[in-house]
């Protein structure tokens, strides 16, 4: 067992050393703890966003609903979207990327551990900041896409919170993106070429680059919105010659890559799950990787399909209609490869596997409706109706959220050293699948029958009542399924801990994270493995018998390392110490934001706090490594 030291030095304000205990969570720079922080925070926001959804569905269950008035409804549906996209799916994906990318590539942490912590704290503070709007004059009420010119003329404070809050979370994500991209490119174990890296890691790399290149665009848009509202500029002000369509272009230039940012992590997760529970390697690894890259690339070329009804003209509409149709191709490639992976496999229908299969099937449905939107005249009928709401919930919820839950069931034992109950997991899955389809399936019908989006109620005479009632029932079923999941978590952690040997590799999996203990030690691996192939761990466990060609367990010693795996074995492993500076630096953000709303003194204070934080960070007592 390697000796691990976290370095420190005596000083007036000592750099912390504790890596366990309550306060260690505030100073941690360990990617695993940060991953757990992201995941727990994202789950809390998921529940909040879910409650908002229940409010929406309760209001819409009947015509002329009176639960929410129009103004309240606008805030609730806006915050539902903002929360689910920015405060749940993205950070939950970040949780998985943070926890598992280093493990899957055989690294001990990410490239910039303190920057990693900074990203988390800025995200948390940004999310909290947006939510304080409910108490400070009104939450954002402009829709998650906050179109101009409505957004600039709205008299409430909501859209300003929207702009500031998303600028803050955008900074968090940009820093995280650069961090993880460098990690994947630069910190792989010896022998792990890019084409021996798990698909989850590849999707991670594509997502980080998408983030890095798309976030700046919306950041500019948000500043322009903020300035229009607070400083009298005219970026989107038609009375001064400004063009509200500029907002749409800038928003969707980000917004479309954003939806691939939402789905690719889940695609990566299920690409890990499906082979494990089919006991077969992924079919067409290179095709799956290249199609992921293609999706990322083409994803930058389709944004105006969100603007078909704006009046861009036939040439623009045609061009974007074509590019949108083209992007269905690489997605189709992935789906065929997943199906081919399952085909002929020795299938085990664990909860994780069910969620993975659910992801594929539900996403296909959402993808099919998406293809209908790509046809411009057809989209004229569908746009701004519930048909679109159906589409994006099938791809985001049916695709991304199902995939994320699959990841939770799959990786829970690795993170927490305990297996979630399979019985409750399956109950969760089936309740969620049924509830989800009951909620969003009817919306296809409602949309084509003419129910418009973003409307707080509808009259009896439109005949929309029945399917709205069905949809609301479905929503409560989803809520029930989440309750089952939460019960599962509580019950699992209330029990005694399983034996270490039962949780290290409970699924008989293929990738490097399963080679270490559950949970992993702080330094991840006692010895960094040398990688000789894709699915390296699998090949250490099993070899093909020469006579029969069937898989047989490899020699006993092989799974524990080859001769050349003497990386760090006898040497002390030095890890960077925890630090409180990332947290301090992050506190500048909300101060700056509240300052813009209330007082320039606060802005000044925010700058000072951020600067102090950054200087403290840069000048932190350097480490005198202890010998060992």
């Amino acid at each position: 067992m390697a000796t691990v030291t976290t370095a420190r030095r005596e000083g007036i304000l000592r750099r912390p050393t504790a890596t366990t205990g309550f306060w260690s969570w505030f100073t941690t720079i360990d990617h695993k703890k940060i991953g757990i922080l992201y995941g727990a925070t994202a789950l809390v926001f998921f529940i909040v966003g879910g409650l908002e959804a229940l409010l929406i569905r309760s209001q819409l269950a009947q015509p002329n609903g009176t639960l929410l008035n129009a103004d309240q409804y606008n805030q609730i549906f806006t915050m539902h979207g903002v929360t689910m996209v920015f405060l749940f799916v993205m950070p939950m994906s970040a949780a998985f990327f943070n926890y598992f990318i280093p493990l899957m590539i055989g690294a001990r942490d990410v490239a910039f551990p303190r920057l990693n912590a900074y990203s988390y704290w800025v995200f948390l503070l940004g999310g909290m900041f947006i939510y304080t709007s409910f108490f400070l004059g009104g939450a954002p009420n402009c829709g998650w896409f906050c179109y101009a010119p409505n957004s600039i003329f709205d008299p409430t404070v909501g859209p300003t919170f929207y702009a500031l809050g998303l600028i803050i979370t955008g900074i968090a994500s940009t820093a995280g993106a650069i961090n993880l991209a460098v990690t994947v490119i630069n910190m792989r174990a010896p022998g792990m070429s890019l084409f021996r890296v798990p698909v989850f890691v590849w999707m991670g790399l594509v997502v980080q680059l998408l983030l890095a290149f798309s976030l700046p665009i919306i950041t500019v848009a948000l500043f322009e919105l903020l300035f229009d509202r607070e400083f009298g500029t005219h970026f989107f002000d038609p009375t001064a010659g400004g063009d509200p369509v500029l907002w749409q272009h800038l928003f969707w230039l980000f917004g479309h890559p954003e939806v691939y940012i939402l789905i690719l992590p889940a695609f990566g997760i299920i690409t890990e799950i499906l082979p494990v529970f089919s006991r077969k390697p992924l079919f067409g690894y290179q095709f799956v990787v290249f199609s992921g890259i293609a999706i990322g690339f083409i994803g930058f070329g389709v944004w105006a399909h969100h603007m078909f009804a704006v009046g861009l003209g036939p040439i623009a509409n045609t061009a974007f209609g074509i590019s949108t149709a083209i992007i269905a191709i690489p997605t189709g490639v992935k789906i065929f490869n997943w199906m081919a992976t399952l085909y002929g496999g020795d299938l085990r229908f664990t909860s994780a596997m069910l969620f993975a299969i659910g992801t594929v099937t539900m996403f296909v449905i959402g993808g099919l409706s998406g293809v209908t939107h790509a046809i411009v005249p057809s989209d004229y009928q569908q746009t701004d109706t519930y048909y679109i709401v159906a589409h994006f919930h099938y791809v985001i919820f049916g695709g991304a959220v199902f995939g994320l839950f699959g990841g939770m069931y799959y990786w829970w034992p690795k993170v927490f050293g305990r297996l979630l109950s399979e019985l409750l997991g399956k109950l969760h899955f089936w309740l969620m699948l049924i509830g989800f389809n009951l909620t969003f399936g009817p919306m296809h019908i409602l949309g084509l029958q003419g129910m418009i989006r973003r409307t707080y109620t509808y009259p009896e005479s439109l005949g929309l009542t029945f399917w709205n009632e069905v949809s609301t029932v479905g929503a409560f079923l989803i809520a029930l399924s989440i309750l089952v999941f939460l019960v599962n978590v509580v019950v699992t952690h209330a029990k005694g801990r399983p034996k270490a040997i039962d949780v290290a590799d409970p699924w008989d999996a293929r990738t490097l994270e399963w080679m270490t203990t559950s949970p992993p030690p702080i330094h991840n691996f006692d010895e960094i493995p040398t990688v000789h192939a894709l699915d390296e761990f699998w090949h250490r466990k099993y070899v093909e018998d020469e006579r029969t060609g069937r898989l047989v367990p490899a020699q006993a010693g092989a799974a524990n390392g080859h001769e050349e795996d003497a990386h760090g074995g006898g040497h002390g492993i030095h890890l960077p110490s925890p630090s409180y500076w990332p947290l301090v630096a992050s506190l500048g953000m909300p101060l700056l934001a509240y300052g813009v709303l209330y007082s320039w003194w606060l802005v000044g204070l925010g700058f000072v706090v951020a600067l102090v934080g950054f200087y403290g960070w840069a000048l932190e007592p350097s480490v005198a490594p202890e010998d060992g």
């Binding site: 848009a221 400004g242 007592p621």
Partner: protein, 213 residues
């Protein structure tokens, strides 16, 4: 083989940890960051270009721009890129005294540039161009303001390097942090090359008459 020892704190790892590609983490991160900044400034420049000549009310660029004045500013910023690269050269030769001199000069040139912009903005303001006056005011101040903030951050980093060098907080071979700050600084300069051309030099027709200086 030693473990990947992740560097932290002030000294940006004079001995670079072994990386998969042989490239430094920080340098790779810096180039990806600069690539993302292209998207940022691209959006701001696009906004400016979109709204060029569409202001409903005066003042218009032709009324207000003082090209000779801004030209001097441009020369100043260009010169600062030269002094930056001379600072790096000095650092590579381990001549910290000369390095600090060139870094200070770069910072001073940067401050001159920003000071010049502040003076320019004040002058424009007094001639009737505010943020809220028209599209020109809106797009001009925000684009050049964002750039100016970037320059200011650069100046802070340069002065910090000078301070750290004086306090012997830089590694024996100080060239790496100088190089990193230099990359950021040169980027800020090339953004100005684009802005100067697009905003100042390319004439904007004023409504109702031919434009140009």
């Amino acid at each position: 083989m030693a473990d990947v020892a992740i560097e932290r704190g002030g000294g940006h790892g004079a001995e670079h940890p072994e990386t998969t590609t042989g490239l430094s983490h920080t340098k790779l991160a810096m180039w990806i960051f600069l690539a993302s900044e292209c998207m940022l400034f691209g959006a701001l420049i696009t906004t400016y270009v979109l709204y060029r000549g569409r202001s409903i009310e005066p003042p218009y660029p032709a009324d207000i721009f003082d090209i000779p004045y801004t030209s001097v500013s441009s020369f100043v910023l260009l010169a600062s890129s030269l002094t930056m690269v001379l600072a790096l050269s000095a650092a590579q030769q381990r001549d910290e005294g000369r390095m600090r001199l060139w870094l200070l000069t770069t910072a001073l040139l940067g401050m001159t540039f920003v000071g010049g912009q502040v003076y320019e903005f004040t002058a424009f303001y007094h001639e009737g161009l505010k943020l809220s006056t028209n599209l020109f005011g809106t797009t001009f101040y925000v684009l050049t303001g964002f750039h100016g903030v970037h320059v200011t951050v650069g100046v802070l980093m340069l002065l910090s390097l000078v301070g750290m060098s004086s306090a012997r907080r830089l590694p024996d071979d100080p060239s790496f942090p100088i190089e990193m700050v230099g990359l950021y600084w040169h980027f800020v300069d090339i953004v100005w090359i684009v802005i100067f051309t697009v905003v100042y030099l390319i004439p904007t027709p004023s409504p109702g008459g031919p434009g140009g200086p």
